[in-house]
């Protein structure tokens, strides 16, 4: 045990004296969560729009007031004719133009129908889509108010309710996502690099010749990263909750247990990589290409898996991160308990065992 502690102490010296490691360990999580939280977002805020009001009556004015009162839009200018639309889009000043038809109010009363046209700049399709949805929502809201005071007419009233994330906040997907990416990065990449470093420097040989057995060597290399990963996960959750208002509906204990399971999965992958790679560079490339990219692209973190082509959907099943994201989203947003996510948990456990067995097999071959 004393030997083991000495080994871990040495490992911490390595980590704390290497600026690169320190940056990846502590700079990255905070940088990533801030980036995803503030910069990369699908939500819109104060988008510049223009209004072309051909009717200029009291109804259109009410709607325009409603639009301008919302935090999503800022009415940059009002224009007088359709011929101006092209030029203001080209200047890039506004992202959308909202047009009210002639005699809007009159049509609303006589034909029970008023027409509004929304023209968006779709060079950025996501934003265009969001603008349309938000505008529709404002209009719908207005109609409901009007119908309350007028004689009720036949109409289908859809009531949409968004469960678990009623405000469609991006933070609810990126906190679990960033946590997954960071745990993968720290656990798999950092351990594989630190093990291959010993191989490259020749110290691994010296360790294997020492009375420490190979298992102790590997555990000693891995343990500090388990510890640091747990700290990282905690920091991300704390930032998520207190800076971005991420809810945690489920049990913190379950969340911690599942996170530790995923850390072990990632570590076993890191060990596997370090068994195959001979140099730090190879280990880093293998971790980046083989682990990071799939985690970011195929785990459902950024792109929904259900809208991927079938072959990619199938491939996504072998990515541990996918299952972990399902698990922590369920715990954080839905307050899931273990009887809901036991299947995903079992899959992760199975994958972990598989990677560990494979590593042991590879390790033996290498020692021959």
């Amino acid at each position: 045990m004393k030997r083991f502690l000495g080994f871990i102490k040495k490992e911490f010296y390595h980590i704390f004296r290497d600026k690169r490691s320190m940056f990846i360990l502590f700079g990255m999580p905070i940088a990533q969560i801030m980036l995803f939280g503030f910069a990369i977002t699908n939500e819109i805020n104060n988008v510049n729009i223009a209004i072309l009001d051909k009717s200029k009556d009291s109804e259109t004015q009410k709607i325009i007031n409603k639009i301008s009162a919302s935090q999503y839009f800022h009415i940059e200018q009002t224009i007088n004719s359709e011929s101006q639309i092209q030029s203001i889009f080209e200047k890039g000043k506004v992202k959308a133009v909202i047009i009210f038809e002639n005699n809007f109010s009159k049509n609303l009363q006589t034909a029970k129908q008023g027409k509004v046209q929304i023209i968006t700049d779709a060079t950025d399709p996501n934003i265009a889509n969001t603008i349309t949805n938000y505008t529709n929502a404002i209009l719908l809201n207005y109609i409901q108010e009007v119908n309350k005071t007028n004689i009720p007419t036949y109409s289908i009233d859809t009531q949409t309710q968004l469960y678990y994330n009623p405000e469609l906040k991006g933070v609810f997907t990126f906190v679990p996502g960033v946590m997954t990416v960071i745990l993968m990065l720290v656990s798999a990449m950092m351990t594989s690099i630190s093990i291959t470093r010993e191989k490259e420097l020749g110290t691994m040989e010296v360790l294997l010749v020492s009375p420490l057995n190979p298992l102790q060597v590997i555990l000693g290399k891995v343990f500090p990263y388990v510890f640091l990963s747990i700290i990282n996960a905690t920091v991300i959750v704390i930032l998520g909750v207190f800076v971005f208002g991420m809810p945690i509906q489920g049990s913190l204990f379950l969340l911690a247990a599942e996170s530790i399971l995923f850390i072990i999965t990632a570590l076993s992958l890191g060990i596997l990589i370090s068994n195959i790679a001979q140099t730090q560079q190879t280990a880093m490339m293998m971790s980046l290409m083989g682990l990071m990219l799939p985690v970011i692209i195929l785990s459902g973190f950024i792109f929904p898996i259900s809208s991927m082509p079938l072959p990619l959907q199938i491939i996504s099943n072998i990515i541990p991160a996918k299952w972990f994201i399902i698990i922590i989203k369920a715990i954080m947003l839905k307050g899931a308990t273990i009887d809901i996510i036991w299947k995903e948990t079992l899959i992760l456990i199975g994958m972990t065992l598989f990677f560990i067995l494979l590593s042991i097999k590879k390790y033996k071959i290498r020692l021959e």
């Binding site: 004393k2 080994f7 102490k9 110290t203």
Partner: protein, 244 residues
Amino acid sequence: MSQEKIIAVKNLSKKFGNFIAVNDISFDVYKGEIFGFLGANGAGKTTAMKMLIGISKPSSGEALVADFDVNFQAEMVKKNIGYMSQKFSMYDDLTIKENITFFGGIYGLSRNQIKEKTTQLISDLGLENEVNKLVGDLPLGWKQKLSFSVALLHEPKIVFLDEPTGGVDPITRRQFWEMIYAEAHKGTTIFVTTHYMDEAEYCDRVSIMVEGKIEALDSPKNLKQQYNVTSMNEVFLKLARNIE
């Protein structure tokens, strides 16, 4: 030098698929001797040594190192030997003191033993002012001496040196061999691989490996007589040519 065997190798072989890296070698090393293990690159000396230090399993044959069988008691073998690899494997980002503490620790030395050893080692090497410097900042020659001393921390019966003098200047090499002599004088057996033939002259006995087999084994003096030449270099060349 006593006639007590400390390494006894019998019909040791190592195969990688169809390739025979070590082909049925047998030899003994006696307590307190400096045993030179010579051979060209690829002759199989590193593979043979890896089997003796317990990190590679022999395909066939047996070897006793410090009375322990490398086939079945590798862990006991490891406790009784010291090892210095050709890369002077210490941690560059740890200080001299931290390196000594770490290596002392993994060989199971107590805190007091480590303290004592550190003080002694530092004064022997004259490194009093460098104790808290990172090993990475030391010149190669010092790293090498330090590495040798660290391999001896736990007072092993045998110390294996794998091409210990690669890349250092002649003066440092000379000093290094003086350290080896001093240690052998205390009764530690030295097993050293090298491809510098002038270093072979410093050994009590040398074995020369060619293509997986031991082609010659005797004292440098006898070998030179036997092949009727004046230097070990010529002995080596003659042996290598005979095979071709």
